[in-house]
């Protein structure tokens, strides 16, 4: 199946999600609620991508690729929305003077922190 990711054409196997296809193309998309082998949940919305012809952004973990699909994983729109969502996630994380990344024992193995740094 032929699809286009970020203006480059790829030949992908059928019946895989956009996220899997993007991974095969060695492009990284941040995810939090996605877990390989489990049904996608679509809660964190960080993996959203732009698909030509779709009014809204689509969650790449939950949508399967289709013939001729044109995907943009890091367009300006996508990055802006992703950043806002990440800000919302971090804002709801209960960070305070007493409890923050400096005092948290999980700081070195924290998925949230890694992705927050990635998105910026």
């Amino acid at each position: 199946m032929k699809i286009t990711i970020n203006n480059r054409e790829y030949d992908m196997p059928e019946n895989i999600s956009i996220l899997e296809a993007v991974k095969k193309a060695n492009i990284k998309i941040p995810t939090l609620c996605y877990m390989e082998g489990k049904e996608p949940y679509g809660g964190c919305r960080l993996c959203v991508v732009e698909v030509e012809g779709s009014k809204t952004l689509v969650p790449s973990c939950a949508v399967k690729i289709s013939e001729g699909m044109k995907i943009k994983t890091h367009s300006e729109k996508v990055r802006k929305v992703r950043k806002t969502i990440m800000q919302l996630i971090v804002a709801s994380h209960g960070i305070s003077c007493e409890l923050n990344c400096l005092t948290c024992p999980k700081a070195t193995s924290c998925e949230l922190k890694t992705i927050a740094e990635e998105i910026g």
Partner: protein
């Protein structure tokens, strides 16, 4: 009316060869539930439902399900979850209900207004609705007008025959001076007092930046405090969000925080940027239609009444 809906359900079932159907009514609507319970009982008694309807080889069972009153259960996938006895929140689409819906079987979900219309269309050889309305908005719409009008009620409006202003006139006019109109429920953008000269059709309302929505029109006079209205609506969405996806859950919560600050300290320029960003994220990335439309009202009201004052 219940018979028209019942007829529509049976016709729809016959068309898609479905043998099981459910009618889902919110638990609060006890009157509608009483009426429809009786309707279903009578229909079974007369052989209009059940095995071999009126001696034909078509069988159809209809069951009434009472909802527990969550707003999000108006979304088709949430409604399906609710019927299955699960928590009422949306499912990921695709698969769409027509592919895999109730109990993982292909399912058609329709609104009662649509079903009642189906019954009406099937009654005549020629489709009477095709002659009504405009090219893009055919037929009629049941508009439920509430708020500051003298005769709040449900009115059947033909598309393209009148403006929003005419519809308000039909409902007896406004009680005090008109401030704004919500054309289609809290999920649609507001139209200001000087913007209501717009024809009531899908295309004209869309061009005006709003939409027909659910047809639940709310008329608001200038006797109400705008910030209180904003907080009330925001509170509703914070309470009713199912909480599955971040943009809708946290976005709406943060919008409420901003509005509380607005009430305390007055309007600030920075709110526009923050709410604009939140709106974009929710609009583009929320998981269901409930989330995507949850900021329309608040953003349009702020845009039309607060931002302009500053400009």
């Amino acid at each position: 009316m219940p018979f028209k809906v019942l007829e529509g359900i049976i016709i729809a079932a016959y068309a898609v060869k479905a043998n099981y159907g459910y009618i889902y009514i919110r638990g609060e609507y006890s009157k509608a539930i009483d009426i429809f319970e009786k309707t279903i009982k009578d229909a079974y008694h007369r052989g209009l439902l059940g095995k071999n309807i009126l001696g034909s080889d078509f069988s159809f069972e209809l069951k009434l399900v009472k909802g527990a009153g969550a707003y999000v259960c108006g979304d088709e996938t949430s409604l399906i979850n609710s019927i299955e006895g699960k928590r009422g929140f949306s499912r990921i689409k695709p698969p769409y209900p027509v592919q895999r819906g109730l109990y993982d079987k292909p399912t058609v979900v329709n609104n009662v207004e649509t079903l009642a219309t189906v019954a009406e269309i099937m009654k005549y050889d020629e489709n009477i609705y095709s002659k009504m309305g405009t090219e893009k908005s055919r037929g009629t719409k049941l508009v439920s007008i509430s708020g500051d009008v003298k005769l709040p009620d449900v009115y059947e409006i033909e598309f393209g025959k009148g403006t929003l202003k005419d519809i308000i006139e039909l409902a007896g006019g406004t009680k005090d001076e008109l401030n704004f109109v919500v054309p289609g429920g809290l999920a649609t953008s507001i139209l200001k007092y000087d913007e209501i000269d717009v024809l009531y059709t899908y295309e004209d309302l869309e061009a005006a930046g709003s939409s027909v929505g659910s047809g639940g029109m709310i008329v608001v006079s200038n006797k109400h405090d705008l910030v209180d209205i904003l907080l009330n609506v925001s509170d509703f969405f914070v309470k009713e969000t199912c909480g599955t996806c971040f943009p809708c859950r946290e976005g709406n919560r943060n919008i409420k925080e901003i509005l509380l600050e607005l009430k305390k300290k007055g309007y600030k320029e920075k709110y526009k940027k923050i709410i604009g960003e939140l709106r974009e994220a929710i609009l583009l990335a929320a998981r269901c239609g409930f989330g995507q439309s949850s900021v329309n009202f608040i953003y349009s009201l702020l845009d039309k009444f607060f931002y302009e004052e500053v400009r």
